[in-house]
């Protein structure tokens, strides 16, 4: 049995999974998105007609498919954590690889969507709705990329057998961040694509 190394990760009972510092980061990010969502909502209340009309031109399919992609990807990450808790490093790495793959699918779909909008001549200055649509989705898009980078680092370490049932804070840290990326899209999709 490996002796659990003295970890610096303050894992008090009741603390959320993963490194405490990632949670500070997650909540700071959620605050940023929260302010953005609020700004969208209140700006909409001044231009309801404009928002309703512009919203019709969005590609709801791609938004919904991407929601499913991220939810499933989040689920894969849950399975990865469950796997490492039982000591299955290989399985853990495979689940994470699946999650990263789905992240890639999200990115491809999103790029197609952006491409369609840009070739239709839509830009940040088109109107306030598109300003928000583009900045919210691009900002989220960048978080997907960051999340994939974090997950890749975790996957490589898991593949080398770097995590154990006793010490797998790294996996939980990456997982928590990825769930946050999912959570934001869960709210963004109905807010921007559906509610009218």
């Amino acid at each position: 049995m490996p002796t659990p190394s003295i970890t610096l990760h303050n894992h008090k009972p009741g603390a959320p999974p993963g490194d405490l510092v990632i949670w500070l980061f997650i909540f700071a990010e959620l605050l940023a998105f929260g302010i953005f969502f609020g700004a969208y909502a209140f700006s909409r209340s001044h231009h309801v007609e404009l928002y309703n009309q512009s919203q019709l031109l969005l590609n709801r399919e791609s938004g919904a498919i991407n929601a499913l992609v991220l939810i499933t990807s989040s689920y894969f990450v849950v399975r990865a954590v469950a796997a490492i808790k039982q000591g299955f490093s290989r399985e853990c790495a495979n689940w994470i690889a699946g999650a990263i793959g789905l992240g890639g699918v999200f990115i491809v779909i999103k790029l197609l969507e952006f491409n369609a909008k840009f070739s239709a001549g839509i830009s940040l200055s088109t109107n306030t709705f598109y300003m928000f649509y583009l900045s919210l989705t691009v900002f989220h898009f960048m978080h997907v990329i960051l999340g994939m980078v974090i997950l890749t680092a975790v996957m490589l370490k898991a593949r080398r057998g770097g995590y154990t049932p006793e010490d797998h804070t790294g996996v939980e840290t990456g997982a928590s961040y990825w769930h946050m990326v999912d959570l934001v899209w869960i709210i963004l999709f109905p807010l921007v694509y559906v509610i009218r």
Partner: protein, 93 residues
């Protein structure tokens, strides 16, 4: 502490995933049907907040944490949901 992996017919997290998929489909169909208005908005928002809470509780694992963490996440959801709803209602006038 040496349980063998428990035999699950369907793991709890898989059930959560299924519910999330179904709820997303509901949201999407409402969009496809072109529905709008106050009640539809409240319904869609409620689904969204339920989904978010499920992700926070089950996927992010907050349900096993101390109240402080759940309160922070819960109030974020309430505030964001509240802002969206009240801004929508302001727009109706």
């Amino acid at each position: 502490m040496n349980h063998p992996p428990q035999p699950h017919f369907v793991r709890p997290c898989t059930r959560i995933w299924l519910v999330l998929v179904v709820l997303t489909a509901v949201t999407y169909s409402i969009g496809e049907a072109g529905l709008g208005g106050k009640n539809v908005m409240l319904f869609v928002l409620a689904i969204t907040l339920i989904k978010s809470q499920m992700i926070a509780s089950y996927f992010m694992g907050l349900r096993k944490t101390s109240p402080m963490w759940r309160i922070i996440m819960g109030s974020w959801l309430v505030i964001v949901g509240g802002m969206i709803a009240s801004a929508y209602l302001m727009g109706l006038q």
